[in-house]
Assembly symmetry: C2
Homo-oligomer: 281 residues x 2
């Protein structure tokens, strides 16, 4: 017997992975959660049938959501992760000894518990003593907070289902208010290739651009996401990721990173012309 | 009825495209050629069942194989394209008024003729007066030539079937001999993600590194190729793509490029750590 997981990247494009075993399936109050094992990607999990994380390329996403901001401000003391139930983003943050507190707000506790059971590669640091887990709505959690966080990482799903409110202007405004004066927001920014992803990329970018004095976009290769081409938004009150890049301070930390490095930090903001044009529209 | 084209990116990963019409199929002396139309990618064609070119993302590949070299040496007078039967690489070269002669050597005339019929978007300049078409084996064509070309673009298929010899050391040595003292070779360099592509990437890179004083690798997003993550090798006798980058001279040409731009020229050589490590092995 052959078992194949298939994701529709668009209604005309499908991506399929040969599965060894369907390890887990559950309907939480928010979404359907499935874990699989596979030859090519190791263990992977999906939410509502969309690939979230797998053992082969999770390092790319988690390097890029974390280290670009941390190398712009290596002096972050208090960080907030919104979403990110697999734990990979928290894991990368715990590698910085200077970070004193990491709050993680994940709406769906079942994602966290299943990740701890089936994906210890990403979930390993969720019980770190500096980490506080909150199982509640990130939108409500952040509302009303003032200058509390040096860094907010929005590690969300697509803007459908539980992730939708995380792409709203009110939410970004609350993030702005919750950030300190040197605060940085990193936002899961979708992709510039297929039409639906392009729409969401533009919507997110236009909202952040209106709110934050500095708003840039950087790119990376994410082979298991639609088109393999993914973006994060970098929004901040004062720090510029290129001009304020603390190359030496970051390198002195001696972190061994499989995707991120100091040259790539500079390079990943050099976007293709068609992406720059779309972001300016 | 639904018609789907499926490519096996590995034996455990499949990429499928909904097809409107199977426009053309033929067995040439070298390979099986198929052209399709599709909603998502427009017209696309495959060789031996592998995606070569489509109307949606061909601009990325053809920008990147051409303009990085041309912005390093905007004074190229004589260029050679090996492979590239769809014509997209030649089309980009014809945009430079300073190039006097473009030789294109494609082993399979049927690919060229079918591209002229079904893919005018890429094949439009194959009858340009500066272009000479040679339907013969690129390996034999280049052998024995001395300092004749300022630029050689190896626009090959994967190193199986007719493309295999284009990844051999003897071929790269012949390219070296055929290049002028400021000559540049750009090589289709495979991908750093799936195992088979990684092997070919390393083999190609190690051979070029031994022969050329300057040998670098640059990256781009190619959504319809396996993993969406693709590389070109930049090998040259004297010119360094970063130090000798002729930003102003290139920008003065006023070429409107959809993917390539001067910042991206610098950024695309900043590779992730895992790729750098694999290239050094």
């Amino acid at each position: 017997m052959e078992l194949w997981y298939t994701e529709e990247h668009t209604e005309n494009v499908r991506f399929s992975i040969k599965v060894k075993e369907h390890l887990y399936t559950a309907k939480s109050p928010f979404q359907t959660i499935d874990f699989f094992s596979s030859e090519e990607f190791g263990t992977f999990f999906t939410l509502d049938g969309l690939m979230m994380v797998n053992e082969k390329d999770e390092f790319i996403y988690h390097d890029m959501i974390t280290h670009v901001a941390m190398a712009t401000n290596p002096y972050v003391k208090k960080a907030l992760v919104i979403g990110g139930g697999d734990g990979g983003t928290v894991r990368e943050l715990t590698r910085y000894p200077g970070i004193e507190t990491i709050d993680m707000v994940e709406i769906d506790e079942m994602v966290v518990r299943a990740s701890q059971k089936y994906l210890p590669l990403t979930a390993s640091q969720l019980d770190n003593h500096r980490v506080n887990l909150y199982f509640e709505d990130g939108i409500r959690f952040i509302h009303g907070k003032k200058k509390e966080y040096d860094l907010i990482l929005v590690d969300s799903t697509d803007p459908i289902g539980p992730g939708e409110g995380l792409f709203s202007k009110a939410f970004y405004q609350d993030c702005f208010n919750a950030l300190t004066d040197t605060g940085i927001l990193i936002n899961q920014h979708e992709s510039p290739y297929y039409d639906r992803d392009v729409r969401e990329m533009k919507r997110a970018h236009n909202k952040l651009k209106e709110l934050f004095p500095i708003s840039k976009v950087y790119q990376f290769h994410m082979p298991t996401y639609p088109s393999g081409y993914w973006l994060f938004g970098f929004a901040s009150k004062t720090l510029d990721p290129l001009k304020d890049h603390q190359r030496e301070a970051w390198e002195e930390l001696g972190l061994d990173t499989k995707y991120y490095n100091s040259d790539l930090h500079q390079g990943c903001f050099s976007l293709p012309s068609f992406v720059k044009n779309m972001l300016e529209e």
